[in-house]
């Protein structure tokens, strides 16, 4: 596997090609799509967390002028379609798939009960106010002890534990039986979510004569959604076109198949007119995937000299009311990444997926990893303190060395293959981070009260998978004007693919970047595409672009051979033209226009197949000051070091890292989806659901290393979008833990809100008195 030798654009911080339209207000997001005669939908949602639907009174709403349809479960073909799992489709989850609309029972606040179609969104909402909904409440399930109350979300299963599995490596029982030191703690990462700035939205347009559907607003995984929707609507896949316009952020939650992805096309087909549905922010916070909400009880075994001899634990994920498309990814990944980049021979991990009357959980940037790193790195710091070993030295003892790679951590779930860390120099990234934060120099202020605030420095190391296979495709088309359109199966959610894919193609073919147009806009372009998640767009999608470029060169030379009357062996592709040894030359434009009409446009397909993930890794360090009077934590300095293999566009890589850091810091301090005892969501507005703003975290640094190319792909790239996120709670948790160590209590749960930090300091002080 080799990448082009003469890379001139790859590796440079090219300004983004997509920016001009965004900066001038010319981006086109789904709410900007207008169709003649378009109607508007609004969703009637359950206000009760758990109950039986007794009656829906629709007459008054139906009588309102401007209302075209009100659809309930009774209008949907039976059996009501249920949303398939895209990832981790374990048979245990089968009873818990979400129906596209509630019929007999409701299981979370926000679950769709009916769809109103009207001349305007405002009229549709007027109609919703006139709908009478009678629901008999059932006891809600919200605590971790999900089966204690005897109330079951799905009575037929007789339990609210959807999944439980157990994996081991080595001899954990023996390791713990003979351990010189053990410590066990219980941790919790609170429920929060991505909250992209653009809410979800769809515009569906049904063509009755052709029996075809166009659906605008696809994102992330349009080809999977087309397949799922085609099956639900009983249509051939080719009768559906899912169209991806500009997307205002994804971070995992946007673009998955939600109930509305069926309901909006269904009502559009029913009323025979285009129908638009744009989620409002309140809906978004109760209907779009939540995430995190993983807890764990973890125990570590060590020798007195600091060598970790065993790790065992139970990881419990609150999945909410249904298992949606991401299946068990969140708790599974938390179990998978609990070991991290450390040499631990004896491991025992149990994973549970719990059903509760809350919004279903899906993936959010760094799913399971944000949680697992917090659990492990916090426990490591507590063990190091108990053993009297410096936290950095404790990690040096246990971090896997390069000469131990490849390193297998075994099978960490029944449905997953053996996980093998491939390449890297974990110690190099670790030492670089310590140098950047001045770990040695800061030893003097560790835990000290300085000018009324406790200061602390924390570090956390991680390893992180990306680049999920099995494949991605691309199609290079030579347009009549000599331009090259590259259709890709990857999706764009703000990560700059139009630029980075163009950089790869331009280098591979050595022609100007302006010759390319990246087309990620429609499922009509390719037979299949896997989309953008798991840090896979560059790794798998970019490698498919590279493969397409190489095949395109061959095809162009072949086409020119006929025009020039020379054999392929005497031709080469240079500066946008095919040149013969004798000096004759034919440009792309000429090749395009000289094709006979019956041949159509010159087109080649690229593909990249891969069955192994990449493993990026690194270390983060946080330096904080904790105000004991208010509990407020200020992040004074933060350094993130990650080996990304190869940075296609370093500016974009840095942007991903800094953006992820701030989202991660939000998860540490602010973001929190709070439910009351009745499983009512208390944080359904941006006044209640807090996220970082410009004043919160001004002092952050990211350092992308290119220490070791990934062996899985010709670009050598590793995931660069999530490493900025995954160890943030770990590093900050350790910094706060170091700062308040003299107070006696350690942070074990997130968020580290001022009230919680204040309590940590003062309640332990009170207990000591």
């Amino acid at each position: 596997m080799t990448f082009v030798q003469n890379a001139t654009l790859v590796g440079t911080s090219l300004e983004r090609l997509e920016d001009e339209r965004f900066l001038s207000g010319m981006g086109q997001y789904v709410a900007d799509i207008r169709k003649a005669g378009m109607l508007h939908a609004a969703i009637v949602r359950s206000s009760v967390a758990h109950g039986r639907i007794v009656r829906l009174g629709l007459d008054a709403a139906r009588a309102l002028p401007g209302i075209h349809a009100i659809v309930t479960a009774a209008d949907i073909p039976q059996p009501i379609p249920r949303i398939p799992l895209r990832l981790v489709p374990l048979p245990e989850f089968a009873p818990y798939h979400q129906p596209v609309i509630a019929s007999a029972k409701v299981r979370y606040v926000g679950e769709p009960i009916a769809v109103v179609v009207a001349d305007s969104r405002a009229l549709a909402e007027d109609a919703i106010d006139l709908i009478e909904i009678e629901i008999d409440s059932l006891p809600p399930v919200g605590d971790r002890d999900v089966d204690a109350g005897g109330s079951f979300l799905f009575e037929e299963t007789g339990t609210n534990v959807a999944l439980r599995y157990h994996t081991t490596s080595g001899d954990p029982d023996g390791a713990f039986a003979t351990a010189e030191y053990t410590r066990k703690e219980t941790f919790q990462v609170q429920r929060h979510t991505a909250a992209p700035m653009e809410t979800r939205g769809l515009t569906a347009q049904w063509d009755a004569s052709g029996q075809t559907l166009k659906l605008y607003g696809a994102a992330k995984v349009p080809y999977f959604n087309r397949r799922a929707l085609a099956a639900m609507m009983n249509l051939p896949e080719t009768s559906l076109e899912l169209i991806e316009v500009d997307v205002g952020g994804g971070f995992g939650v946007r673009g998955e198949f939600y109930p509305e992805d069926y309901l909006v096309p269904f009502v559009a087909r029913m009323v025979g007119k285009p129908v638009s549905w744009i989620e409002d922010r309140r809906e978004h916070l109760m209907a779009t995937n939540h995430s995190r909400d993983v807890g764990a009880t973890v125990e570590i075994a060590c020798a007195k000299d600091g060598k970790i001899t065993g790790l065992r634990g139970e990881v419990f994920g609150d999945m909410g009311a249904y298992i949606r498309t991401n299946g068990g990814v969140v708790p599974t990944a938390a179990g998978m990444f609990l070991q991290g980049p450390y040499r631990i021979a004896n491991v025992d991990i149990t994973v549970l997926a719990l059903m509760t009357n809350k919004t279903p959980v899906g993936t959010y940037r760094g799913p399971g990893r944000f949680e697992a790193n917090f659990f492990r790195e916090r426990l490591l710091d507590m063990a190091a303190a108990d053993l009297g070993i410096d936290p950095a030295e404790f990690r040096r003892i246990n971090l896997i060395r390069e000469d131990e790679l490849p390193y297998s951590i075994g099978k960490r779930a029944p449905h997953l293959p053996e996980a093998i860390y491939d390449t890297g120099d974990y110690h190099n990234a670790f030492e670089r981070c310590l140098t950047e934060i001045d770990w040695a120099g800061k030893a003097a202020i560790q835990g000290r009260l300085i000018d009324g605030r406790y200061h602390g420095v924390g570090i956390a190391s991680f390893v992180e998978s990306g680049g999920a296979g099995p494949k991605e495709t691309s199609r290079f088309v030579l347009e009549k004007d000599g331009m090259v359109t590259i259709a890709v199966g990857s999706s764009m959610l703000g990560q700059g693919l139009e630029t980075t894919f163009s950089q790869i193609a331009a280098d591979a073919l050595n022609i100007p970047i302006s010759a390319f147009r990246i087309d990620h806009g429609s499922t009509a372009r390719l037979a299949d595409g896997l989309g953008s998640y798991h840090g896979r767009s560059i790794i798998v999608g970019g490698s498919a672009v590279l493969d397409g470029a190489n095949k395109f060169r061959t095809a162009v030379i072949e086409a020119a051979a006929n025009l020039l009357g020379r054999p392929n062996s005497e031709l080469r592709f240079e500066n946008g033209a095919v040149v013969s040894d004798a000096g004759a030359s034919v440009g792309l434009g000429q090749i395009a226009t000289s094709r006979p009409p019956e041949d159509g446009l010159l087109s080649v397909d690229g593909i990249f197949l891969v069955n192994k993930p990449t493993y990026s890794y690194g270390t983060h360090a946080a330096y904080v000051a904790v105000d004991p009077d208010t509990g407020r934590v200020e992040v004074l300095d933060y350094v993130a070091v990650e080996d990304v293999g190869r940075a296609i566009n370093p500016m974009i890589v840095s942007g991903q890292a800094i953006g992820a850091l701030v989202q991660g810091l939000g998860g540490v301090f602010l973001d929190h989806l709070i439910y009351d005892e009745q499983c009512q969501l208390l944080t359904a507005s941006f006044a209640d659901y807090l996220m970082p703003t410009a004043t919160d975290f001004p002092s952050l640094r990211s350092i992308a290393l290119e220490l070791r190319l990934s062996p899985t792909n010709p670009l050598g790239a590793k995931s660069a979008g999530e490493g900025g996120m995954v160890p943030v709670a770990a590093a900050v948790g350790n910094a706060v833990g170091a700062a308040v160590r003299s107070c006696g209590t350690q942070p074990l749960t997130l968020p580290l809100s001022p009230s919680k930090v204040w309590s940590l300091i003062h309640e332990s002080a009170a207990a000591a008195r």
Binding site: R16, L23, G25, M197, G248, R281, L661, Q663, L700
Partner: protein
């Protein structure tokens, strides 16, 4: 429950006399009636700042205002920030240079907010820029490149030649 009244307003230098639904927000009016979809709706309750436009020079949340309240106003939206030929203005260019946008959804509201700030306070320092932008939520960038871009664009707002001119 709703009726329409005619309102007159200037938007990006063009005069409009247009019927507005009395219960339509200004942002819906701009987007649906005037087809200026560069102004985005992020929360519809005045927190996120995506819908920020300039009304008589002040940065205002167009989701918190009814369209008829804009009768007689002079409005600038993101579509009005570029030069007449469509060439990006200095703030927009700085955003591109510093990678101060990713998905682009919050960008119009941040550009209008920053434009109002630099027009009134071309010497604003990083702390002041952060303070003013703290009313705009961005989920992609982490704000650091946005602050760098606004700092760099200050030069274009300084000096008598540019004072008070639209960019």
């Amino acid at each position: 429950m709703s009726r329409k009244i005619d309102i007159t307003l200037d938007v990006n230098g063009a005069r409009y006399v247009h019927a507005a639904d009395t219960r339509s927000t200004l942002v819906d009016f701009l987007r649906d009636e005037l087809k200026l979809t560069g102004t985005h709706i992020g929360c519809e309750h005045g927190v996120c700042g995506a819908c920020t436009v300039l009304i008589d020079g002040e940065a205002v949340r167009s989701c918190l205002m009814l369209a008829p309240q804009a009768d007689g106003a002079s409005i600038v939206t993101v579509e009005g920030l570029a030069a007449p030929g469509g060439e990006l203005g200095p703030l927009q260019r700085a955003f591109r240079k510093h990678h101060a946008l990713q998905c682009g959804f919050c960008t119009p509201g941040i550009l209008t907010t920053a434009h109002a700030l630099l027009t009134q306070e071309p010497g604003a320092d990083a702390d002041r820029i952060r303070e003013v932008l703290s009313g705009n939520i961005c989920r992609c960038t982490g704000y650091i490149p946005i602050v760098q871009a606004v700092l760099e664009a200050r030069a274009a707002y300084r000096g008598p030649a540019r004072a008070g001119q639209p960019l």
